[in-house]
Point group: D2
Amino acid sequence: MSAPKFAGIIPPLCTPFHSDFSVDTESLRRHLGVQLDAGVHGIFVLGSSSEVAFLPDTQRRTVLKTAVEVVAGRVPVLAGCIDMTTLRVAEHVKAAEQLGADAVVVTAPYYARTHAAEIERHFRLLAERTELPIFAYDIPMAVHSKLDPRMVLRLAEDGVLAGLKDSSGDEAGFRKVLLGKQERGLDGFAVFTGSELVVDAALAMGADGAVPGLGNIDPAGYVAIYEHSLAGNTEAARREQERLLKLYSITDVAPAGRMGRSSAGLGAFKAALKIRGFIDNAVLAPPQLPLNAEELSLIEFKLTEAGLI
Amino acid sequence: MSAPKFAGIIPPLCTPFHSDFSVDTESLRRHLGVQLDAGVHGIFVLGSSSEVAFLPDTQRRTVLKTAVEVVAGRVPVLAGCIDMTTLRVAEHVKAAEQLGADAVVVTAPYYARTHAAEIERHFRLLAERTELPIFAYDIPMAVHSKLDPRMVLRLAEDGVLAGLKDSSGDEAGFRKVLLGKQERGLDGFAVFTGSELVVDAALAMGADGAVPGLGNIDPAGYVAIYEHSLAGNTEAARREQERLLKLYSITDVAPAGRMGRSSAGLGAFKAALKIRGFIDNAVLAPPQLPLNAEELSLIEFKLTEAGLI
Amino acid sequence: MSAPKFAGIIPPLCTPFHSDFSVDTESLRRHLGVQLDAGVHGIFVLGSSSEVAFLPDTQRRTVLKTAVEVVAGRVPVLAGCIDMTTLRVAEHVKAAEQLGADAVVVTAPYYARTHAAEIERHFRLLAERTELPIFAYDIPMAVHSKLDPRMVLRLAEDGVLAGLKDSSGDEAGFRKVLLGKQERGLDGFAVFTGSELVVDAALAMGADGAVPGLGNIDPAGYVAIYEHSLAGNTEAARREQERLLKLYSITDVAPAGRMGRSSAGLGAFKAALKIRGFIDNAVLAPPQLPLNAEELSLIEFKLTEAGLI
Amino acid sequence: MSAPKFAGIIPPLCTPFHSDFSVDTESLRRHLGVQLDAGVHGIFVLGSSSEVAFLPDTQRRTVLKTAVEVVAGRVPVLAGCIDMTTLRVAEHVKAAEQLGADAVVVTAPYYARTHAAEIERHFRLLAERTELPIFAYDIPMAVHSKLDPRMVLRLAEDGVLAGLKDSSGDEAGFRKVLLGKQERGLDGFAVFTGSELVVDAALAMGADGAVPGLGNIDPAGYVAIYEHSLAGNTEAARREQERLLKLYSITDVAPAGRMGRSSAGLGAFKAALKIRGFIDNAVLAPPQLPLNAEELSLIEFKLTEAGLI
């Protein structure tokens, strides 16, 4: 029985832009450095927190190339290959191979109305086309279908999937995967939660790690949760998670009626990254709307309160 | 008051593939010829019926290039620019300009959770970047948000949108747009229904035309509806539409539990196109599942019954 | 072949309240009289427009009893039996029988997660328990499932359903029912649209009638559409429907962010009924929010513009 | 600071029926006895697991009356008051008062399209009408809206709500309520999870207790989780929860395509209760479909495997 190659805290990196929406690679390098210094166990680029849905393919390549260079093999680099269907995803997977990613992360098909049998076929066809480990990315909020725990386990057993990044918010389904993994002895199958507010709970249930968007802003906090959890110190893990839950309220400063949740959440993340000096510019890709001055002040206040500035 | 440049029957062309999923341009040329011979008033490539969500960018370009060449200016060619957000769509728009499309067709953003104000901003930003007429493509089934009739009218009035292709199935909302168009004197704004089973009704309400998926198989039928409608012969239009409604049952031969609606519907369309000799190969892009032999026989039977073979 | 017993314009009656939310039977009688004088062909009480979801059973009985008395057999009275599942609906059906309704109107089950086979079973079990004609009420907006046209036709053929009241907004599915009715020779099966903005189109497709919420305010307008349609005067029907479409904008005076669609729509209906003198009090049942003074003025302005006051 | 009056394991009792769907009060008494003997800390009748949506009001009253009698004050009895809107719910609340319930459990309005401000108003209006403690029941799967954690906390602070029963599956939102409770010092506000597969995690986060459907079948298991958790023995709590997670697979024996989730889940619960001898008859209220012989055998096998028979 071997421990999974992928474990621990793997933040889904935000993508800093110049004001023309080209990738600000200097900020990206600095931000990557901050994460690595904090002791993260991997880097996930081109996930939803990276605004991957907003990035043209050229920018996606720049992000991945920069990450692979900066990380230089110290930790694994996972690359989101986010597109609608098999052939389009396969092209992103090919690019990830060429640029040196250590694994790819793939959602269920979207836009076209799909079916469970077709979702399963999607992952199987992609696995036939690449040697890279494939993580299934369960994100019904974005793709409007949920991965069935039984399908995930079947694909893990068949060697199609190397891991799961579960951002579904369905902790009961997540736990079914964890239990199934244990029952089937799938020790190498890496199960990550994307639910950044219950990382301590996920680890206590046996998750291999977490991919917390809020980790962009406070990677050390999440690394601490992981270490407390490994050490069996559930109380300390809980206190740290609660501290981060409080910090997460920065994503609520923009009222629901004014902009989308993506703008409100990622806008807050990027504003905080700028305030903390990790990146230079908090601009979001279009058509997302910007936070206003009052909302930005409130974020600054909350960061001060959290002792992060 | 000028009539809209875009009017009549504009079928959303299916994309024939070779068995390796490369575009079968020979079949595509033949299929385009069939449509033009039937008297259609425009060609819409790279819409949902084309499996646009399944086509890599190279194949998308091949499709559009072929269509522009074959059509050779006889009718307008509309190009779907289907992607998640503004910058990605802008790249498809740029390609459409270069390849000679007469208009582009754009959905609301998807994957990222969006907001009405961001949907509107999306269309406005794209209009700033192109001289091509932009059609809004209202397809909540795919993008999981519905375009507000009031926003559509505002964008039409401001010259952002040249037209609407409404595949929402919401005929009441469609009619609000038609009424608003009339009240504001927006004669050049082209309003098309994508609901292929109520084209006669849409035309009777004042729609400029239709983009019927089933038109791939029986373009003459839809052209007849349009002509009957122009001639004020609503009864003949209705009879023709009812005949096509009966034919549409080919999309129901695969039971709901076995595959997605996309596979069942597009699989039936392509099977019928092959049976009628318009294309050589009925294969669907992955991960869609194929119809089985029994289902294919049933489609053949229905086409015979309809007098189409 | 016999014409259906149920045909024409059957408004879904709003329920006037006293300020303590008891039924204002005096207003209800007056409002019923207005409808009958306008020549409506039936009365539907206890539908969604009646705030049936807000009415305790005692009030429901008062409404039905009053309607049966006032109508006195001149036209049929349909009674909504709106509840979550079979046994609860069966009790409302029993009450409808006792109070003299001519038909009952029943939705798919809701609250509990249901399944197509269970929806079908629901209607079959209810039909075993009553002699009254049963209308299926297709209203996915409220019950979160859509009735399958093939199931509706099967139940019509088996004598389980006497009619359909389709408020789904899915005109293509509606037309499948109409076509299937014709193909199977189900002449006695009454198909009504609940889409008050496309009544002319529904009648042109062969619908037996309409159940228009807006008919509360302008029953004569809908009766005129029906008569124009019977007379084959589609152009006059269309003009009348467009006039009513314009009037329908009273339901949009409250901004989407301030209250639910039910409050905004029913609040506007009841305000208009009060302004026209059909009822005394425009109060909505809790927890619905009231329109404000500015919104009420705007409704009054729109009614004046429409020549209704 | 006082501990909440409501804490611990409060199973949402299944309702045993005779074959004519009248309440089998003898089985109900026996089943209540089993629960009390196992040491549960309260009884919740007329929740979703009780088939409340399927029970006519008379049966609801029989259930509550029986529970109050059998429990005889040893633990609190909570009564679901599940209906669509304020006035209808108020009648159930009145009945609960008369029959001696210790608290009522109320969902957001449903059927009518509602709005956050109206949901809040709903709870406030009900609180004005009763002295009984009100629990908010967050169950978006049934009512199609989610309670906002900030609203829940506001209502707790204002004394409108005495507790929350969160069956939303949204553990992050649940935790926001727990954190808010702690920050505001709302010690008397009782926060329960309805997610029966993560009870150990919910308790570790600070929840006051759980309302586990599966507790019907194995109340002692859930009581053990609670006791381990109080004693700080998180590892033992986790092992017990994992055992129950395995048992929960009885709800999956019916394939998704054959019946609704309600039938599959509650059918399995009732079958297990009958096998264990807690109730006499496993029949479900209509229109739910029954499990077949093969599925029942599989449940029996799983219970044997679990050492429960």
